[in-house]
Amino acid sequence: MTSLPDKTDKKLGLVIDLDTCVGCQACVTNCKEWNTGGHMAPLTDLNAYAAEADGVWFNRVHTYEVTGSSACGASTSRTMHFPRSCLHCEKPDCVTVCPTGASYKRTSDGIVLVNEDLCIGCKLCSWACPYGAREFDVFEGVMKKCTLCVDRIYNENLPEEDRVPACVATCPTGARHFGDLGDPNSAVSKLVAERGGVDLMPEMGYAPTNKYLPPRPRKDTATSVPAKELTPVAATGFLGWVDKLLSR
């Protein structure tokens, strides 16, 4: 059903720290590795080793130059790496536009999924997504998208610590966090509150579940830390005897 649930029991999603992300593409790689054998498998690649290589990926990392200046006019420009994937929105038009019922949002945890057996490959859902999160698989003729690793997070065959999305598991800088954003006491909700997490394109009204933590403000002046004064040392024992001898 493409009608959206009024409310979901949980709001599982990601919190992505743009201050920490170094753009290493590890999450992109591990996502592809897991998901090409997972729920939405395969993530087809075309001409993978030739010019015009093309393929389905659920996660893409952009790099931006963010220019700005502080109150005193100093440049605060920086490089910002920006991972982009499905935000598992609360009000996603990608679901409501789907003519077949292939796209749906789960009432239990809010994850947005595609049923590949129902999808006719009309691509309308990808037009409706502001975030470019859906990629069409030309080879399979169906739409593919991030599943928030439904086949990992509830997978009892995996050790407890691995029951997180592949991107989160692999991030070497700890820039990706996974949890229930519907629970104000969860670690991710607290992190969002503390760091001022934001929605992407809030004006679209899709109410994304995933949040982004903006880079921390850059300081334009260094704090001055004076060096400690040297204090005379009173030597005793053998060194005291040498000191006395030399001070004569």
Partner: protein, 317 residues
């Protein structure tokens, strides 16, 4: 947006088909449809043929055309699904009307079925327009001019097609030339207003809102320095199509002249100089208009910019 041939053909052909049905229904309701069996058969075959060819072509671009029937299921939320349902329902009055009109013995039902067909035809056009109108991600589509454009351009192309056929079969539909002229003028006006609107406004989203940086203190400028991929991916191929501004202007000129002005001039001059042969001008008028409207529809896609391009370096969308 990538201007896929199948979708351009679908919207123009089915628009003209439903426009023809609406025009024929209107004349049938006023008991002003001539009983000429070849004219009636040809008109119905062309109208239903355009609608059907359009619908079929729109299924060709699907990844799984054999599952197309599933698209009738989600009419509660999806305009695409509603369009499918509306298109299917419209066949019922259209086929019934066609039979009634073609067999003169059934003349009086045609008078009732004709007008009944109009809401079905216009309703289907409306659902098509709403597919585009409802996409918040595309400013050139998510605006108040899209529905009027579809609702005027469909009947406009339909009326001109019926006029050309009537000229070909030597039958007269009273005032149809004047009526077509008026629709061509109305079509140009709504299209002009549409173009003025998309030229002077753009989406509220910016690279800063897309990356979540719009609310963080002093204004920031976000510049894309590296894409996630070296080659164009699906998102860029589908949503990143951009037509050069100078080409767009030229193509608009072609659409304006071929789609609206030249057909209007040809049709109105055939009315003003009442030589019977001149009615044949309606035929080249219909052909030129068809070319112009295809160009117009190509631009409707090619000039539509998707907000996802903001992630890829577009400054506005």
């Amino acid at each position: 947006m990538h201007p896929a041939f199948s979708v351009i053909f679908f919207t123009t052909a089915s628009g003209a088909g439903y426009g023809m049905l609406a025009t024929l229904g209107f004349y049938a309701g006023h008991d002003a449809l001539p009983q000429n069996v070849w004219f009636s058969i040809t008109s119905m075959v062309v109208a239903l043929g355009l609608v059907t060819a359009g619908l079929l072509s729109s299924t060709f671009h699907l990844g799984h055309p054999e599952r197309a029937w599933r698209a009738f299921s989600q009419w509660r939320t999806s305009w695409l699904s509603r369009e499918g349902v509306a298109a299917l329902l419209a066949y019922i009055p259209a086929c019934a009307f066609g039979l009634a009109w073609v067999f003169p013995a059934l003349e009086w039902p045609a008078r009732i079925l004709g007008p009944l067909m109009i809401p079905f035809a216009l309703g289907t056009l409306f659902t098509t327009a709403m597919i585009y109108r409802s996409l918040k991600t595309i400013h050139a589509w998510h605006n108040k001019w899209v529905v009027p454009c579809y609702l005027v351009l469909g009947p406009m192309t339909g009326a001109v097609f019926v006029l050309a056929l009537s000229a070909g079969f030597g039958v007269t539909l009273k005032f149809l030339a004047a009526f077509s002229g008026a629709l061509l003028a109305a079509g140009l006006v709504v299209k002009w207003l549409y173009w003025t609107f998309i030229d002077s406004t753009s989406a509220a989203s910016t690279p800063a809102t897309a990356t979540g940086l719009s609310g963080t203190g002093p204004a920031v400028d976000v510049k894309s320095v590296e894409w996630p991929h070296t080659e164009a991916n699906y998102v860029m191929k589908e949503m990143g199509f951009a037509v050069a501004r100078k080409h767009a202007q030229k193509l608009r000129g072609i659409a304006i002249w071929l789609g609206f002005m030249v057909p209007a001039i040809l049709i109105e001059s055939s009315v003003m100089l009442p030589l019977p042969q001149l009615s044949f001008l309606a035929i080249p008028a219909a052909v030129l208009m068809a070319v112009g409207i295809v160009v117009e529809r190509w631009l409707f896609f090619a000039q539509a910019r998707h907000v996802v391009t903001l992630f890829y370096g577009a400054k506005s969308a």
